[in-house]
């Protein structure tokens, strides 16, 4: 009924939404993998990426309208700026709010409170320094979002969605390679499986954890930029809901599991958009949490099961 006439019209934005969730969810899942902690401040990492992208592009683009190859350049620059912003904040977060607690072997819930504190701090610092308004990012392409780039089953895919998909896929593939093929990835997997033993084998645990935060921050920060680029704008409070949803997505797919986070993100994004179509935006959260509960009751560790170490 609600989907028969325009299924793809809802599916395509849902997929784009899902890619963003997946990018953010990976930050949660990576940190959970190595520390078994919910990094509640990750939504502020995302927000920092949004601001970094906003400032960089607004400064570079100003009033003129870029076109052609320069558009691609601006998108790449924006992504890099967002990723760097996210990465830096994630690193600082680990250094200030987590590492001192780790040295004390603080209880897990102390980490949670520290993360909530960091979240409040970063959120309000951004509000104080950058104003408490929502701002659009200067558009890097001349083509308006209306004009479809190409069509899937009769539904136009706009440039914005194409950009999200391309950037997300590149980053996801790179992450997958990173975790599976590189020395850093080996370290991450080792720490995730058994931190003590990894330490005994000569893995510098602190370094691996810091690098894990940075990798998660890079992905989250780029997602922040992409999120602000679309119809969402950038503001100091932008992180809360996407962060919560991405966390849900990570649990849905199996927290600590990289491919689970990707799958969970995509699924949740699509489910949400379809429930906007079929029910109402005000019931979306009910639907997504209901599905989460159902999945967890059937598979208590998420769709793909947890464990960064083995599955990735």
């Amino acid at each position: 009924m609600c989907l028969t006439h325009n299924f793809w019209g809802f599916f395509v934005p849902g997929l784009a939404n899902g890619f963003l969730y997946a990018l953010i969810a990976l930050g949660y899942t990576l940190v959970y993998g190595v520390l078994q902690l919910i990094n509640f401040a990750h939504s502020e990492v995302f927000m920092s990426g949004g601001f970094a992208g906003l400032f960089t592009l607004n400064w570079l683009i100003g009033k003129h309208h870029p076109a052609g190859m320069s558009s691609v350049g601006y998108v790449v620059i924006g992504c890099v700026a967002g990723a760097v912003g996210g990465g830096v904040v994630a690193y600082l977060l680990e250094r200030v709010a987590y590492r001192p607690l780790r040295r004390r072997h603080a209880p897990k819930l102390a980490f949670l409170i520290s993360a909530i504190g960091a979240s409040y701090f970063l959120l309000n610092l951004a509000g104080k320094e950058f104003g408490r308004d929502s701002r659009p990012i200067a558009q890097p392409f001349t083509q308006t979002q209306t004009d479809p780039l190409f069509k899937i089953f009769g539904t136009g895919v706009s440039l914005y969605y194409a950009v999200i998909a391309v950037v997300a896929i590149i980053m996801l593939v790179m992450l997958d390679r990173l975790v599976n093929k590189t020395r850093l990835g080996q370290g991450i997997r080792a720490v995730a499986q058994d931190a003590d033993t990894a330490g005994l084998m000569g893995v510098d645990i602190n370094r691996v954890i810091a690098q894990t935060f940075i990798v998660g921050g890079l992905l989250g920060g780029a997602a922040g930029f992409l999120y602000g680029l679309g119809p969402a704008n950038v503001s100091y409070t932008m992180g809360f809901t996407p962060g919560l949803k991405a966390f849900t997505a990570a649990v849905l797919g199996g927290i600590g599991n990289i491919r689970g986070a990707m799958l969970g993100g995509l699924l949740l994004g699509i489910i949400e958009n379809l429930s906007v179509a079929c029910i109402s935006p005000s019931w979306v959260d009910v639907v997504s949490f209901f599905i989460l509960v159902l999945v967890l009751l059937v598979r208590p560790t998420g769709i793909l099961g947890e464990r960064l170490g083995r599955s990735a």
Partner: protein, 407 residues
């Protein structure tokens, strides 16, 4: 590598800094000194000192809206003092209620306890007003709200309650009539932001539009976190826009604030929607155009129970002075807060240096003050008298007035 001991050293420092700033900023923040126990005679002469307070959100998610009003109140007080013809001295004080009905009684007690507070501008939000007004009524302390629009507030029977904005019952039906009769809307998609402001307004609009013979579809899209209006996700708008486009609606009415409206407008444009956009006074803000983009916002209709202030010379003066004081542009409800403060000041002027809280309430009942947004006169239940709804349209990147809705 930092170790714990190093962090151990940093932290007391931050604490020390905080303590320091606590002393520092209390000196700065209120121009007239903020010690609440102050005697009622100024140091200079025998003029008594009255405090006019602002109560509204100053921290938390709605802080910006609160700051819009706070500086307007401060400005009104500064100007009145600077005019030099007052038989008393005015001071500004504030109480933060975070726009939250849970916090507002506490915030209200703070003002009630301070005996030199003679009138209050606020509470800003309807929920906060509902929770705090019984206390103000009990203390016989007048409150003039610049922004609480819930219709039920006037039924509370609180003698202390006044407001300088029209309630939602005035705006919704007038908007619906305008949309159907003037703009010829036949199929209207009504969206609210699921807030205490948007929900009743969209209902009032929808009911009237149905009576006028239009086809109405109502939907609730929770305000988003980046707009500090709720916990919705901005990514809901593209899908919602596709849905609206598919419904064949010729007009979209949005009951909510400019920030979310801008996001929805962008998404609608992206989905290829070409009908009329219509919103309420929550969207009457130049930031709507800035955030949506001039090409998206072009042609949007916006209603408000307030007259156009951009053509009013007194208002121009307000806009410049506000910016000088606040370091940001005046925004939603700034002019209303300015009027509310000036209304209280005009009452005080009439009563003179012996004014009491009760006299201020009595004075407000009969006040007739010409403000920058409207002529301020109250009905017996505290509502603003004779409100007419004006329609505005975005033309060439500017909000321009189209005149009264019913002419």
């Amino acid at each position: 590598m930092l170790n714990r001991r190093v962090v151990l050293t940093v932290v007391p420092l931050v604490v020390a800094g905080m303590a320091l700033s606590a002393c520092g900023s209390s000196k700065k923040s209120s121009s007239g000194g903020s010690s609440s126990s102050g005697g009622s005679t100024a140091a200079g002469g025998n003029k008594p000192t009255f405090k006019i307070a602002y109560q509204g959100p100053l921290s938390g998610g709605n802080a910006q809206l609160g700051l819009n009003m706070k500086f307007a109140v401060e400005l009104a007080i500064n100007e009145a003092n600077a005019a030099g013809d007052l038989p008393f001295k005015l001071e500004y004080t504030e109480s933060d209620d975070q726009g939250d009905g849970k916090v507002s009684p506490t915030a209200a007690r703070k003002l009630i306890d301070d005996k030199s507070v003679i009138g209050v501008v606020g509470p800003a939000f309807s929920g906060a007003t509902k929770a705090a007004e019984p206390l103000f009524a009990d203390a016989k302390l007048a409150t003039v709200s610049p922004s609480a629009t819930s219709p039920t507030l006037a039924d509370g029977g609180w003698a202390s309650f006044f407001r300088v904005v029209a309630d939602d019952n005035a705006q919704g039906p007038a908007d619906a009539d305008y949309a159907v009769k003037k703009l010829g809307a036949k199929n209207i998609y009504v969206i609210d932001d699921a807030s205490a402001y948007g929900q009743p307004l969209s209902k009032a609009f929808g009911d009237q539009a149905k009576t006028d013979g239009a086809q109405v579809t109502s939907e609730s899209a929770p305000g988003t976190t980046q707009c500090q209006a709720g916990q919705g996700n901005a990514q809901q708008y593209p899908a919602l826009a596709t849905k609206i486009k598919g419904s064949g609606a010729d007009t979209v009415f949005y009951a909510g604030y400019y920030c979310d409206f801008a996001l929805l407008a962008k998404a609608l444009k992206a989905a290829g929607f070409s009908g009329n956009l219509f919103s309420d006074d929550g969207s009457l803000d130049p930031k709507y155009i800035e955030q949506a983009g001039a090409d998206v916002a072009e042609g949007t209709y916006i209603s408000c129970a307030c007259a156009d202030i951009s053509t009013n010379s007194a208002a121009q003066d307000f806009i410049t002075k506000f910016k000088a004081l606040a370091k940001f542009d005046s925004g939603t409800y700034s002019p209303e807060a300015f009027d509310a403060a000036n209304t209280i000041i005009s009452v005080l002027k009439k009563i003179g240096p012996s004014a009491t809280r009760e006299q201020v309430i009595e004075g407000l009942k009969t006040v007739d003050y010409k403000g920058i947004t409207k002529e301020v006169k109250f009905e017996s239940n505290g509502n603003i008298a004779g409100t007419s709804v004006y329609i505005y349209q975005v033309k060439g990147g500017k909000i321009t007035s189209l005149g009264l809705a019913n002419t």
